[in-house]
């Protein structure tokens, strides 16, 4: 087993463990904090995949903005900061069953795919992934249209969020 594989296994175990805590923690602030550690684990996974830009953006956008927003929302929507009562609904066993079935289904589906266990080619030494990504995002031959649509979506979401949460007297 190589060093990279060991690092991957540690990261994956850490991420999945934190993910389980997110969905099972009774205290919602704790769940949000566990989400942060899950997101961090995912960022490490991106770094292992040589996607530096995506890894750093993951930390900036997800941990710096989205997770903080979650913690704010948890604190804004409760009278008492301590949690009481069950945090899961009555049909939790059905949800668990469905989740396990989904995982089994995905795993068996992937097992049958020919490219399942392929290993990646070595990273080209003179290839600048960040420059290539930047060009792909703004080049008319590539993905400028989806990128612009995403920015319009973000703008619309921003306006909508402000309108929804605005406190009318």
């Amino acid at each position: 087993m190589t060093g990279e594989q060991i690092i991957f296994l540690i990261t994956a175990g850490f991420t999945l463990g934190s993910g389980l805590m997110v969905v099972t923690a009774r205290n919602l602030v704790h769940a949000a904090l566990w989400l942060v550690s899950t997101l961090f684990g995912v960022a490490v996974t991106y770094a292992l995949l040589n996607a530096n830009f995506i890894a750093v953006v993951q930390v900036t956008v997800y941990i710096g903005a989205i997770a903080i927003l979650f913690i704010f929302a948890v604190m804004l929507t409760r009278r008492d900061l301590r949690d009481s009562g069950p945090q899961t609904n009555k049909n939790w066993w059905a949800g668990a069953l469905l989740a396990v079935l989904t995982f089994a289904g995905l795993a068996s589906l992937l097992q049958g795919w020919s490219g399942f266990s392929k290993t990646g080619a070595a990273f080209p030494s003179d290839f600048d992934a960040i420059a290539a990504l930047g060009e792909a995002l703004v080049s008319p031959d590539a993905y400028v249209l989806p990128f612009e649509v995403a920015s319009v979506l973000l703008m619309a979401a921003l306006v909508g969020a402000v309108y929804l949460a605005f406190n009318r007297k």
């Binding site: 919602l28 997101l39 995506i54 953006v57 992934a129």
Partner: protein, 102 residues
């Protein structure tokens, strides 16, 4: 080198955990937390396919960036809705929000 299968299984597991959270949590914000886990699982797949396919074609990373934007939009609108509901009904438990049925 880690084979592609490890990443795919990892992301499938993360997706299932997120699905479990979405299906079982009572608190609306906790449901959104589960949705975030599912979006992250999708992103791991996108980036893994970029790395193990043709690295010079940036489609995987580009769509990962777009998923970031979609996730940010989803969280902004979702949490605004939750806060707005909390103002009217004083609760964020999804079972108790029954304004649409009678």
């Amino acid at each position: 080198m880690v084979p592609l299968s490890w990443y795919l299984i990892f992301s499938a597991a993360l997706f299932s955990i997120g699905l479990f959270g979405v299906l079982t949590r009572r608190n609306a914000i906790a449901i959104l937390l589960g949705v975030e886990l599912m979006l992250n699982a999708v992103n791991i797949n996108l980036v893994a396919f970029w790395r193990y396919g043709d690295v010079t074609s940036m489609a995987g990373q580009v769509f990962a960036v777009i998923v970031f934007a979609v996730a940010a939009a989803e969280v902004a609108v979702g949490l605004a809705l939750v806060i707005s509901v909390y103002r009217r009904r004083n609760t964020v438990i999804a079972d108790e929000l029954d304004m649409m049925k009678w």
